[in-house]
Symmetry: C2
Subunit: 307 residues, 2 copies
Amino acid sequence: MDKKTENFLGIDVGGTHVKIGLVDTKGQILQFAKEITASLRENPLGFNLAFVEVVGKYLAKFPEVQHVGIGLPGLVSKDRTTTLEIPAISELNGFDLKSALLEKYPNTIFHLENDASAAAVGELHFGTGQTSQDYLFITLGTGIGSALILDGEVFKGVRGNAMEMGHMLSRGNSRLEPLIGRNGILKIAARMMDTFPEEVGQLAGQELGMHVLVGAASAGNSIALKTFAEVGEILGEAIVSTVRILDVNEIYFGGGISAALPYIMPSLDKTVHQYLSPYYLSDIKMQRATLENDAGTLGAAALCFMD
Amino acid sequence: MDKKTENFLGIDVGGTHVKIGLVDTKGQILQFAKEITASLRENPLGFNLAFVEVVGKYLAKFPEVQHVGIGLPGLVSKDRTTTLEIPAISELNGFDLKSALLEKYPNTIFHLENDASAAAVGELHFGTGQTSQDYLFITLGTGIGSALILDGEVFKGVRGNAMEMGHMLSRGNSRLEPLIGRNGILKIAARMMDTFPEEVGQLAGQELGMHVLVGAASAGNSIALKTFAEVGEILGEAIVSTVRILDVNEIYFGGGISAALPYIMPSLDKTVHQYLSPYYLSDIKMQRATLENDAGTLGAAALCFMD
């Protein structure tokens, strides 16, 4: 098999959809499909076996595929065979997924990985920016995920599941994710509207969502700008602590909310400069990841490049 | 040379003293001396060259020594040749110490390392507890240092200086070190005495120091116990975030203030159990390191076992 010319199957398992892409080695998505997670959970087989069947369906559809990468929304075993804690799909907790897949499809090579780590690997292989072999990757979306690429590989920590930045303790000992995940950001915005009613402007009467908020920020709405400034501070504080632990100075932001990065970055940058010493700040690089919406599928496919 | 039978020189460089130990491969300190850091700084040669001379003095005294380990209180280059940011001895900032030593003593092998990492390595080789090859090590003292031993080696992170937990952001965005380093703990105690004057008891009229505070805690003084309970909470919060980033479940505490661990542990343990999920808590182990006062010198000597 030649990893330079074959096509990979990238499968991004999420709480809402299971997304499947046939991806070439340059990162082009040749075919794309999605299955509804809830339907698989309601399948009489149960989610786990129904998912194994779904994989088989696409393997039959694309018989040339030899490598399948699978991104999973939670903790996986260090040997990447077993799903341990998958909050969105609890049926997967403690399931030896790799063995179940290999039992059915013994001639296929499966690469399992946490989804944030998969997205980071996607940026490494398919990103249009020039990443080095060492960077912190943070996904900003409904949840907050993170990964460290160290010497071109996923950093697993001691037991296999390093880099759960979304669970770091932040202000008032809340976890980071509820503070600046999607719902957290909307809560900040609602608080800003209560605090500064005279600045609500174009947000008045609108249903507050992330698109609305980003649009308002781009139009200069001060509630939206204050909201993203607070997000930048909180995110910056978590990055300061993470940089002190990992000594990393190249950071990419993916996920839907990274679209707001222009409004998050000023306070993020200020916070980082406030708390880090010159050693850490020299050559620090923080920017948006390049893969955007396809990061999940491409990241899963990119796992096929890894050993 | 046979690392099983030779003697090492362990040199622990600190802001107050430079401690030098001749250490056998079982961790016995055969000879011990110390030099006053301030005197070396006042030497006409300047600290850096004066230090190189001091190393030569002890190499001449112990001509059998082939390996010298040196623990340094700050940031060192990833290749462990150059001292980068050494706050307590700023002369060392950006100094290629290894080359300076090798130029003078070309037949000796020098192992440079951050001092907290050296202490962690000391526990690995000379500790009387049974460490695994993977653990977090935290020194509690005037400052807060930390290190991760990963697969039996010092985890360096991306650029060489991982594990600066003392600089993580904690409550009110203070760094951890000023909050629960020695002076921070004394501040907490002073605040507790102001808040609960009726509970001051045996602490009344005493000059507040760490020994006094530990003694009072052991006698059940409620100010001292409340103080260490708060230290445990703050330390626990930092450990929660660190565990989420490194996925480590074996933690040792060294440094002088680890003597207070019996009074810190209840709230530390409670905090960790409050914020970590079952995956992280299974088999979690937190206990005092075994080397105590000699950790600096023994840790520096233990570096000689590393490649």
